[in-house]
Amino acid sequence: MTRAKYISLLGSYGVVLALLLLIVFGWARYDYFLGFFNITSVLRYNSMFALVALGMCFVIMTGGIDLSVGSTAALGSVVAALFSPQGAWIGLGAGVGAGLCVGLINATLVTRLKIMPFIATLAMMLAASGTALLLADNQSVSVSYDSGFTTIGQDNFLGFPIPAWIALGAYIVGWIVLNFTSTGRGVLAVGGNEDATRMMGLPVNRIKFLVYLASGGLAGLAGVILASQFGAGQPIEGVGWELFAIAAVVVGGTLLTGGVGSVGATLAGVLLLGILFNVLNFENGKGWISLSAYWQSVIRGLFLLIVVILQAKLSSRGNAVKDH
């Protein structure tokens, strides 16, 4: 087994194990933790992050990064809200379309103009946010409640929130693409060694183009859910989403240098970070300790710190094993 695979496996199992432990802890300690209401609200809220993290996971596997996802989601939510009076599907399509546009520009900047992903998507973060503010006239845009648009974010299907179904569907598609298609294998190959992949004759630029496009589309979809769930397109939402997504992807054991990654572990990473807050809220409710909301970001940061140090330790040990 290669070093990269070894780390990734440990990472994936580690995050799933941590997730299970956290759930068992919550179940044992709080009365309503595994209650229907709590489960559905956690799923409903975190499905947006799950979608953004899925796109980010693919981008990172190619060795790139997409910093624009947060403001793309904001733009998607505004566009979806503006189109929501025309009907649920049109609102949905418009929001996703807006995200795809941002993704298209990102993809063009990265693959055609060869601008570093970091800086290209940073610029698009500003541009998407500016466009969202312009379209929304600097305020939140309320959605239409008559056209059925709010169904997407607020209703249930077979007892579970529709956003959770959407996210689940996206992850299944993502998993299939990564594991059973040539494009998926290409994604990991590009991240592992771009030059070698090009020499092997794989369409490197096309693969990279597709991942940025997908990341934009998924962020737009997250924006649609945002608008539908909270009843308004919100141009200033999404700040910091890109970093939450990166954190979730890293926690899921995907290496930021690319070439290694897992769709399932990313989902586990999102749930782990999401449930961590849920547990904190319950703990506050118990009254033993009282942690203000501000502690959440400190704890989130600490958590990320532990994960990256563990990842670094593991990868250097993997290195040592390989070297001898």
Binding site: I65, F118, A127, L134, I246, Q296, L304, S316
Partner: protein, 332 residues
């Protein structure tokens, strides 16, 4: 024969791109000034100059540290959060919330020194993560980007701290010979950093690491130590900028101080002509880059374009600057 004109043609292209890559931002800045002189009312006044300089100061101070970090091939996302920490800590000290100090001058001096030092220590922590664990800079500094603002918010419980302490606010509101103090501070920092980068061994080592880390290590440069110092300097710069911001505002809001500063600083560095992959850096370029971005925003706002549209324009400028820079490099 047929080849000759083509070669001449491409040669000309080389020069144009190289020229643009080197002087493009400066030319853009000069064009902006000319444009404003012609079309913006009341542009050629001391007040306009002061408004623009005071607004750009904090960005430049942070961007100087960021330039050094980027020169080593790294990045520092935590600067905005570190500004919030130093901005939250200083008032707590000079208002006597931690330990009462009777002499106001002593209290202000203690506040300034301790809060900048704390920001520097957090920067050192970034450097430690990056050099000791070989964690990628973008992830390592992401930790404090997330946690740092939380720390500032927890320290102040998210409350706004307001104050009226002229002895402290001198750094944001005072003037020496009519020049705002923070502008003088900015000039000193820029000159010191430019000198250090060009004329000292440390500066040379920074560039060497960014150019080729492995080669730098093999040639005997203490890479880990240099990186530690660079991130610490970035932290110190952020700490100073945080103090200037709260001094101007007469208040410190941990939720707001330095928000989005990492992007402004990176944009200034990129537009200024420093290679984002490391190995080539210019502090004066960063200064010009920051001033160009500021002047673009000012020009748009002064001519009635909404702030949101200015964001889109800023994005275009960043992409254009980086693209021209890359073309210049590819053709050179």
């Amino acid at each position: 024969m047929t080849d000759t004109p083509q070669t001449a043609h491409t040669n000309k292209r080389f020069d144009a791109f190289e020229f643009l890559a080197r002087y493009g931002t400066l030319i853009a800045l000069l064009l902006l000034v000319l444009f404003n002189l012609a079309f913006t009312r009341n542009f050629a006044t001391i007040q306009t100059l002061n408004v623009n300089l005071t607004q750009v100061c904090t960005i430049v101070i942070v961007a100087v540290g960021m330039t050094l970090v980027i020169a080593t091939g790294g990045i520092d996302l935590s600067v905005g959060s570190l500004m919030a920490i130093s901005g939250a800590l200083a008032p707590m000290i000079f208002l006597g919330k931690i330990i009462p100090i009777d002499n106001i001058y002593l209290a202000v001096a203690t506040a300034i020194i301790i809060s900048i030092a704390v920001a520097g220590l957090f920067g050192l922590f970034n450097g430690w993560l990056i050099s000791a664990f070989r964690i990628q800079p973008i992830v390592a500094t992401l930790v404090l980007f997330i946690a740092g603002r939380g720390i500032a918010q927890v320290m102040t419980n998210g409350n706004l701290q307001t104050f009226r302490v002229p002895q402290f606010q001198f750094i944001g509101l005072g003037r020496i010979f009519g020049i705002p103090v923070q502008v003088i501070l900015m000039v000193i920092i820029v000159l010191a950093a430019a000198w250090m980068l060009k004329r000292t061994v440390f500066g040379r080592q920074i560039i060497a690491i960014g150019g080729n880390e492995r080669a730098a290590e093999l040639s005997g440069i203490a890479v880990a130590k240099v990186k530690l110092l660079v991130y610490a300097i970035s932290g110190l710069c952020a700490g100073i900028a945080g103090l200037v911001v709260i001094a101007i505002n007469s208040s410190s809001d941990a939720n707001q101080v330095g928000l989005g500063m990492e992007l402004d600083a990176i944009a200034a560095v990129a537009v200024g002509g420093t290679l984002l992959s490391g190995g080539k850096a210019t502090i004066i370029g960063t200064l010009i880059g920051a001033m160009t971005i500021q002047l673009v925003r000012y020009t748009l706002l002064a001519n009635g374009v909404p702030d949101a549209a200015a964001l889109v324009v800023k994005a275009g400028i960043i992409v254009l600057a980086v693209w021209i820079q890359q073309q210049g490099r590819a053709h050179a």
